[in-house]
Amino acid sequence: GRERLLAAFEQVNENFAQLFTHLFGGGHARLELVESDDPLDAGLEILCSPPGKKLSTLSLLSGGEQTLTALALIFGVFMANPAPICVLDEVDAPLDDANVTRFCDLLDEMTRRTDTRFLIITHHAVTMARMDRLFGVTMGERGVSQLVSVDLRRAEAMVA
């Protein structure tokens, strides 16, 4: 139990540090187990230093920086033990266009490294244009949902 958690922590920490620097185009970050010597009772602290900025805890970062850091953690966990399916529900909402692009680059990389199938729920035009296919959910009849295929090329034209 304890050894497995510590082994997972080491692996995730390594992945997280790499992903953070990759997503931020620089800087560094690490995870720490705090508040207890027993890993099964410890807290997970996140220390990060975006490029050109001082090291601080996650709480001092901007909204978008916090989101990008959390994504580095989530994918750090994912890479340690890839799931057959990954669904991300509007995780790109707080990101600016440049960071949404980096997020999509990361998704492309994950599809190269794993067999995982991804469902990406989004309102972001940039994200839509980077998908392999699009489904639209509509409520033509009030309160009743329907699924339709959406033409990707139309979505891409919207972002051009």
Partner: protein, 168 residues
């Protein structure tokens, strides 16, 4: 194990039988606010054995049954089925002797949930174990709910540590 199709009938706003085909790579899901996108993720977690109504934004397990609208009556049951390609025979023992796995969960008003795998009755626990053995399941950290990133950012350090337990 490759997930290939999610089918919803009477599940929340998806009253008519609806198929979500799950293909390789990146599939985008788009649409206006309130049209049903997040309901799709909840349907997936539900068929994998999610058993906490609060995790489905509801008060009780029956809240996932189509509740009716101004023009359509409420339904009596909700059903979600998940089709999995098992051509590589990587499924856990006991479920590993066919090319496809069909996992079905159905809840009927006043009668609770029933699970089937390839038409054979199973317990909720069997389904949860099946997905756990495949590195997924309703609690998988790869299933990120709307607002969950905010929760992770604002969580106390001890609550955050649980994300590691899912990786271990």
């Amino acid at each position: 194990m490759r997930f290939t199709r999610l089918r919803l009938t009477g599940f929340k706003s998806f009253v008519d039988p609806t198929d979500l085909v799950i293909a390789d790579g990146l599939t985008g899901v788009v649409g206006p606010n309130g049209c049903g996108k997040s309901n799709l993720l909840e349907a997936l977690r539900w068929v994998m054995g999610e058993n906490r109504p609060t995790a489905m934004r509801g008060g009780g397990m029956e809240d996932v049954i189509f509740a009716g609208t101004a023009t359509r009556g409420a339904k009596n049951f909700a059903e979600v089925s998940l089709a999995i390609d098992n051509g590589q025979r990587l499924a856990p023992a006991g479920f590993n002797d066919s090319d496809t796995l069909d996992i079905v969960r159905r809840i009927t008003r006043d009668a609770g949930s029933a699970f089937k795998v390839n038409a054979k009755d199973v317990r909720a626990r069997d389904v949860q174990m099946l997905f756990a053995d495949a590195s997924t399941g309703a609690q998988s950290p790869a299933l990120v709910r709307q607002g969950q990133i905010s929760e992770l950012i604002n969580a106390k350090p001890k609550a955050r540590r649980r994300i590691l337990e899912d990786a271990a």
